[in-house]
Symmetry: C2
Subunit: 162 residues, 2 copies
């Protein structure tokens, strides 16, 4: 096997396959990567416990559930001391509508992704943050008009040369 030193080609195939077909049966997966079911399952379990696979999920088409508003928000904190960042991160993590948080280099500190029911809802979330000392100095909102594509998989094979 591998994992300790590095994953072998079969492990990468398994990851790539599961990434785009998370609910594939082990029998099909084993066939796709060229193994019999037993060792294939062993590898999957090992990839899971070793942390290469952190979980599985269904991709839900939010638009079919109603009208949703996605917003990317640039946030600049007022203070940049040790603790200001972690406190901010801890607090926003608890807000369900903030689905992504990225600390970036450049003109501002954080890029957040919101999914709200509409502009009113989004506005109320922002006001809540401004009024309750999250440490935000300023922010700027970019409302998503449409998302031509969101790939649910990274090019594992390509990034390695395969």
């Amino acid at each position: 096997m591998a994992i300790g030193p590095k994953l072998d080609r079969i492990d990468l195939k398994i990851l790539a396959k599961l990434q785009e077909a998370g609910r594939i049966t082990n029998v099909e997966l084993s066939d796709a990567v060229g193994l019999s079911p037993s060792p294939c399952l062993t590898r999957v379990k090992r990839l899971e416990t070793a942390g290469y696979i952190t979980g599985y999920g269904a991709h839900i088409n939010l638009n079919k559930l109603g009208e949703f508003l996605t917003v990317f928000t640039e946030v600049t904190l007022g203070e940049h001391r040790r603790g200001d960042f972690s406190r901010f991160e801890t607090r926003i993590a608890k807000i369900d509508e903030i689905v992504e948080c990225h600390l970036v280099s450049g003109g501002y500190d954080y890029l957040l992704k919101f999914v709200a029911r509409g502009v009113t809802h989004y506005q109320s979330l922002i006001e809540e943050m401004l009024e309750n000392d999250y440490g935000i100095e300023k922010y700027f909102s970019y409302i998503v008009i449409k998302s031509p594509f969101i790939k649910h998989h990274f090019p594992i094979q390509n990034l390695f040369g395969e």
Copy 2:
């Protein structure tokens, strides 16, 4: 059942559950939502064919596969005629390292998310785009230093009031 008019509470439970545990067995799922396996599976299949569930995937821990660089890039096109947008979207969709594309309102046109092997790799991708007439007037890169969190599920229940 529902779906035609609107999803009932059980359907939402199924979506919420599958979103965070895509590989749960139908037996467990049925138990979690309070149904027997048969009707539960029927609902899942219907949600899939009706387009509420667009697919399943494993969440891969890219950092364990090596050092990767995530970059958010703001792009402004030089021309904004009908066709300039669709042409740009079509072309960048073919670039594996661009995993998300959002058309936004505000100071620029597109917010792109890249996953590359490093700054050199990212730079080569950008140069490739600039040299080959993608219609880019200007761009700005925000390198992700760390992502405190990326939730792989939207608050389905909460957004509807549970």
